[in-house]
Symmetry: C2
Subunit: 344 residues, 2 copies
């Protein structure tokens, strides 16, 4: 089959790799019909040194089950399924806690003999635990929306849930990337009354307004912090979703969070230590969030997509075929695309 | 009156200062009958450079109301009262949130023309908001226990509450100082089933066992982390109370907390940045806590003292008179005392 390999920073190639096949009785093989590029794919795309054993890229995908191992009971060949961005048995102590990213049998796509999601097919470990069936056909127009269950929508939702967003709440969302915009959708779903989106790209913040942002602050740093405080009687908001992962974004989050409030971070931290010491202690700020256990939220969020009440697939503003995925990476890396959809 | 002044590291003196008097109609003056030395008093005691305008020390005290301003309604002269370690109006937006340490009119004792608590008397700003009446006489044997409402018991309780400790929980408490031991009391009050106390001083951890610790781990660092993991099927505990404030203690907390768990820190952070980056993100660890809004918890905790179900005053293992308070500081600084009570 054809799959996406990253050889080094800026060097993404689509090449022939071995076809996936059932290796364990709990495996399935899925033919992939939609995939996409994640903001987190851009970190290695920006910085990875050359390797001659390149990793299969991609971890957000959906497709059709082709084959199942002898112990797979819940998913059958022919089922349309969406795949969370880590695989999981869905039965261990952590999965029962709703923390599928910590599954004792789980792991990430594209390493350790596991396929990536930016290819024609993938072997799915723990298929019954990992795969989520979609009640639509493979020609459904909702597929791009449903694909966001794989990662980006659930990541925004994880931010809002761990921040404790509830009806009537005021929330600041830092970052106008696809995760930030998903955070806006999530905050609105949970009933937030005021959603202040901090971002500088008008096309993105306009989409954020469509998704439910009530205010947009384009300024950053101290100026941005002051603008949010002015909007909130000087207090800031009790909940802040930090959807970037950079140190400056966390500092900004501390600046706009109300005393006693909660910052949830869902952008993978690009810092070894957090600027979260004595001042945050004196203000009783909580820092929560983390990598999103997408699998825990997929069934809960799916109905909102199926009934059309949310359209998270609008974050995909470019579509490429698999053979052109390198261009899809470039578009996102150069900020010409918000998020690239890959049709196989 | 006589009051405690810190001139520089190691140099605590009791000297004459001006008698407190009503300055604002919302003030009261309290004659202090019990005070104590706090672990946080030891930070300046260890490190403060010489000053010729020394600060009045002390922020944990109780006494008898002597005089009230014209707008004070709830407390009357003669009332026995306990004083939280910051003053607060108890009416502002933050106080209504239960975050009295962020009160817009509040502040700490001993600075800005406000008296400290290690002296014969103190002017109390916002007396109706700040003071909590005690239903006992000034000769009550419960006074040392009730004094702990001022800070140390509420600080331990804040750790347990913000960590979300609930019935049946497993909790690790890091630190066998008076705050850590109060954390044990608090975790037990909230119904924790397993309380692992990490501390090296046998006399203190023995008291911790009396307070409700089910296990004691004397080892620190990696060895200590491994010991806690062994006690918990390799998982660690979902709640960790970090009652020290040093970076190593926070690293230890990360080591013993279960994936998806919560660390609450109530020891004032002695680090500018927290070792709380990518690994904690991947494990979905929450960092919460902060300076304890004692005032928010005092009425809730008092009944447990009055009915004898908790005896937090057992953390006082030495008693001195005011004139000997320097010796009380020394005893604590040299770890000869757990916590020093001061009788006036």
């Amino acid at each position: 089959m054809r799959a996406t390999l990253l050889y080094q920073a800026g060097d993404v190639r689509v090449e022939d790799v071995e076809d996936p096949k059932i290796q364990n009785p709990t495996d399935a093989v899925v033919r992939i019909i939609l995939s996409c590029v994640c903001g987190s794919d851009l970190w290695p795309f920006k910085s990875q040194p050359y390797t001659d054993t390149p990793r299969q890229m991609g971890h957000e995908f959906l497709g059709v089950v082709q084959e199942t191992g002898s112990e797979v009971k819940d998913v059958k060949p022919g089922a349309v399924v969406v795949v969370p961005f880590t695989y999981a048995d869905n039965t261990c102590a952590y999965c029962r806690d709703g923390l599928h990213t910590s599954c004792v049998h789980g792991g990430p796509w594209g390493v350790g003999g596991v396929d990536g999601g930016q290819g024609q097919a993938a072997r799915i470990p723990y298929a019954d635990g990992t795969l989520v069936k979609l009640p639509v056909g493979e020609d459904s127009e909702l597929l791009p929306d449903l694909l966001t269950l794989s990662d980006v929508l659930c990541t925004g939702y994880h931010a809002a849930r761990t921040a404790g967003v509830q009806a009537g709440d005021s929330v600041t969302v830092i970052g106008d990337g696809a995760v930030g915009l998903s955070g806006v959708i999530a905050a609105k779903l949970l009933g937030a009354e005021r959603i202040i989106l901090m971002g500088r790209h008008t096309a993105r913040t306009d989409l954020g307004r469509d998704f439910g942002a009530t205010d947009v602050v384009a300024a950053r740093g101290e100026e941005g912090v002051n603008a949010v405080r002015e909007l909130t009687d000087g207090f800031g908001t009790p909940k802040v979703l930090e959807c970037v992962g950079l140190k400056d974004a966390l500092v900004q989050a501390s600046g706009v969070v109300r005393h006693g409030g909660t910052i949830s971070r869902v952008g993978a931290p690009q810092y070894p230590e957090a600027p979260f010491g004595f001042p945050e202690f004196m203000r009783n700020i909580t820092l929560t969030g983390g990598v999103a256990p997408a699998r825990a939220y997929m069934e809960e969020l799916m109905p909102h997509i199926l009934d059309g009440s949310i359209r998270p697939g609008r974050v995909f503003d470019r579509t490429v075929g698999l053979e052109d995925i390198a261009e899809g990476y470039r578009l996102m890396n150069d900020r010409e695309a918000l998020k690239t959809l890959v049709r196989l």
